[in-house]
Symmetry: C2
DNA sequence: TACAATAACGATAATCATTATCATTATCGC
DNA sequence: GCGATAATGATAATGATTATCGTTATTGTA
C-alpha cells in the first residue's frame, strides 16, 4: 500500500474528532452519524466510517469490539472497560493494567505489547432499578 | 420469551460441541461449518450459528469478540487470550485474572462479575519468521 | 411400536454493519 | 487562480449473522 499519502484537512473529520472527544460513552459509528447529521445534513455514513478507521489507524482513537457494532473511544491508551449486562453501557475503568502485563509476560513465549480488559456485571444504576 | 422450551438431542449440535472441544484455536462459525460439512454434507450454516448461540446461552461455551467474525471457545470460564498482530492467531493465556477482578472491584461502584482480557503482540513463531 | 407435539433442521431470504466504487467537491502547494 | 489529489456523498457490494418457513427428527405417551 502507498503510505506516502498526505492527509488533508476535512471539516467532517474534525467534527468527528470533536464529537468523540467530549464524551465517555464510546458511541458507535451509527450514533456519531446521527448526531453529526444536524451539523452536516449531507453527511454520509461512509464518511464517518472512513474517518473513524483513519483515526484508529493513526492511533488517535481506539476501536472497542464487543457484541454488536464497534464502539469508538477517544482515549487511545490501552485501558479497561466495564460492560453492564443490564443497560449495556460501556464505561472506562481507571485501572492500570501494567500489573496484568507484567504478570502475563512472565509465562509467555512471545512479545506482549498491550492489554485491554473488559469487566462484566451490573452498574450501580441498574442495581438500584432492579432493587425497586 | 418462552423459557420453558425443552432442548432435544441433535446430532449436529453434538458434532459442533465435539469439534470445538478438541482444539484451542478458537474457530469461527464459518470454519466449523466447513469442517463439519464432511461429516454432514447437507449441513446448513444457520444450524451452526443456531447451535453455537444456544451453547453460549447455556454457558457451555464462550464467544470471543475481536476484529472480524466471532470466535468460539470451548472453555466457558472467563480467561485471557493473546492475539498475534502477525498471524492473527488467538491463544489461551494461563493467567488468573482474579487479581485484576479484586483490584477492579475496589474502585468501582457496581457489581463486577467477571473479567476477560486480551493481550496483543507478536507470537514466538512470528518473531522467528520476522527475524530471518 | 405408533402417534402427536414440537424442537431442530436445511435452504434461503432478510438484516445489519461495514467496505468498495465512482463521479464530484474541497484542500493545499505553487 | 490552477493543477494535483485527498475527501466527500451516494449508493452498490460484501461479509457476518439472523429470521422465516416448510420439512425432518426426537421424545414422551398411548
Amino acid at each position: 500500500m502507498d503510505t506516502s499519502m498526505k492527509t488533508k484537512f476535512s471539516r467532517q473529520r474534525e467534527a468527528i474528532r470533536k464529537q468523540l472527544s467530549g464524551r465517555h460513552d464510546h458511541p458507535t459509528a451509527e450514533t456519531l452519524y446521527e448526531e453529526l447529521k444536524e451539523e452536516f445534513p449531507r453527511l454520509s455514513v461512509a464518511t464517518v466510517y472512513r474517518n473513524l478507521n483513519q483515526l484508529v489507524e493513526s492511533g488517535e482513537i481506539a476501536k472497542i469490539n464487543l457484541n454488536g457494532p464497534a464502539r469508538f473511544d477517544y482515549n487511545p491508551e490501552p485501558h479497561s472497560h466495564f460492560v453492564c449486562k443490564g443497560c449495556g453501557c460501556v464505561v472506562d475503568m481507571s485501572d492500570n493494567n501494567d500489573e496484568a502485563l507484567i504478570a502475563a509476560r512472565k509465562n509467555f513465549d512471545g512479545d506482549i505489547e498491550s492489554c485491554s480488559s473488559q469487566f462484566y456485571g451490573m452498574c450501580s444504576q441498574c442495581i438500584k432499578e432492579t432493587a425497586q
